[in-house]
Symmetry: C2
């Protein structure tokens, strides 16, 4: 994995430059707030997938950099709008854009990133890629809407959770891994496998993310722990935990979910409940099962260091610490 | 004008059905909030322009209905996001979407409308039209950003005002009037004229809108009078008025602009200043000069009832009462 990532490092730097060039030409407000958001870091996992798959397929052009940038811009648009929706104050250890510039500019920054992304795809006349991107974007928005509707509700079931995850997280991963298959006709035969790989990787990523919210420290997360619960989101660990609780234990959870407030007592009570029922290990096994499915897809792809990296990526995503 | 509008009434009804069909297939949240917003009315001026120009050019297909709907959806996306930005509580006499469903869902509703609009253009493989739409959308977003930056500032000058108007209002009018010229190669020779016509019409529409905020009643506007000033926006009438005021008169305006509060005394003081300096008549003349430019473009188009309607539309836009 590490070796394969080294191979794409120069291309990832080009993705950064490509994004920087878009912001440089933008109006002052976009340039300032946009630069702040992109400089805030992020793992650039989605562009890395575009670059890695492009390399695996033997692609020689420069659409990998363009679409790596476009996908990161779309992803960032959803993040800044999600932070407004969640009233989030911190992301990656720094104030969110909405906290720093207000909701007003942040709504427009997201709109600008969405629309400019589409325009960047239009510049190269790429209708099939645009179809994938606009569909993935709509799925993300719809997933967020379903999530908003379930917000604060204890009765979110696992099927609804999986529906939200597939739309909100897995769709854009599947777009990232499968778009390179549209770059040349000879690549098309790998498209379904790459899409399935990306979907499983995305689900695996989201479940690992749910767990990090419970197991990581505030400093490594760059935001408070138990953020999901405080924001009213019932993640997989809690969906698994709830049916095993007594009424009064459930009430503790319900209060955090509906008030957004987590006292030190409630936090240690909830940690004890998660421990007693072995939830973290159980949910980790669920994530692993998706990791295995992703890896099973990857191994059918053409061999080489890139293929091996794709096969290892799901484990890497589960073992990450932020 | 009235006769020409009668001719396109059946097509306008198809535009409504087309939008309705998109909402019918959408997730519950979009369907509910989206239906509410579209049922709230609006003059459907932009789709009417697409239909009227298509008819003038002799277009026989059904892309006029599709793009009429797409343009109204993009326009509506900007409205719902603008109402979040302006903290608006009323539009067209009813609570705004953000007031009724909260900022969270309304951010997503706008995102959905933007993205679904692009997808509707993608369905028919129309890259040149998509280019026009995405550019007009970016201009609107950038115009809103420049406006936001000038918000609450007395030193907004006329050049900045015109820049904002061209981006925020005129661009989508120009898209509406010129997109039909892309429907068939034979129509292309009218494209520049139609774009210029739409730009002038849009500027004329916006200046008339500025005046309505001062001259219409709350019941015909469907929102409080002097809304622009309360939202921190210095419109053309005030840009013209300010240099003629004494310091203490200017201070009254500044207070409304920065606090958002308009007392009954301040309102009558400001009305007296506008009257004393003949601002409404002066700004109306500015709107008329753009109307004349639009009409001068229209008369060079192929003759007929549709051409006459386009020639009359700017006057209609200035004389409207809401």
């Amino acid at each position: 994995m590490a070796n394969a990532l080294k191979l794409i490092t120069p291309r990832l730097a080009e993705v950064e430059r490509f994004i920087g060039a878009q912001l440089a030409e933008a109006p002052d407000s976009v340039r300032e707030a946009g630069s702040y958001v992109f400089e805030g870091g992020g793992k650039r996992l989605r562009p890395a997938m575009v670059l890695l798959v492009s390399r695996l397929l033997g692609y020689q052009g420069d659409r990998d950099v363009r679409y790596g940038a476009v996908i990161e811009m779309i992803h960032t648009a959803t993040l800044v709008h999600d932070d407004i929706i969640d009233h989030a104050a911190l992301r990656r250890g720094r104030p969110t854009a909405n906290h720093k510039w207000g909701n007003q500019l942040t709504v427009l920054l997201g709109d600008w990133l969405y629309t400019r992304s589409m325009e960047l795809a239009l510049e190269v006349d790429d209708v099939p890629v645009m179809r994938v991107l606009s569909r993935a974007t709509i799925e993300m928005i719809e997933g967020e809407m379903i999530g908003l509707r379930m917000s604060g509700r204890l009765d979110t079931d696992e099927a609804t959770y999986m529906d939200i995850v597939r739309r909100k997280t897995a769709g854009i991963f599947a777009a990232a891994t499968s778009i390179p298959a549209l770059f040349e006709p000879a690549f098309a035969r790998h498209r379904d496998t790459l899409m399935e790989y990306g979907t499983h990787l995305g689900v695996c990523f989201q479940i690992a993310d749910d767990l990090l919210d419970l197991t990581a420290s505030e400093s490594s997360l760059g935001k408070p722990v138990f953020s999901d619960l405080r924001e009213g989101k019932l993640t997989l660990p809690f969906i698994r935990l709830l049916p095993r609780l007594r009424d009064w234990e459930r009430a503790t959870l319900a209060q955090v979910l509906t008030t957004g407030h987590l006292s030190a007592d409630a936090e240690s009570d909830i940690r004890a409940l998660l421990d007693r029922h072995g939830i973290v290990e159980e949910v980790r096994r669920v994530a692993m099962s998706f990791a295995e499915r992703a890896t099973a897809c990857a191994v059918t792809l053409p061999g080489g260091i890139e293929r091996d990296a794709l096969a290892e990526a799901p484990r890497y995503v589960i073992d990450r610490e932020f």
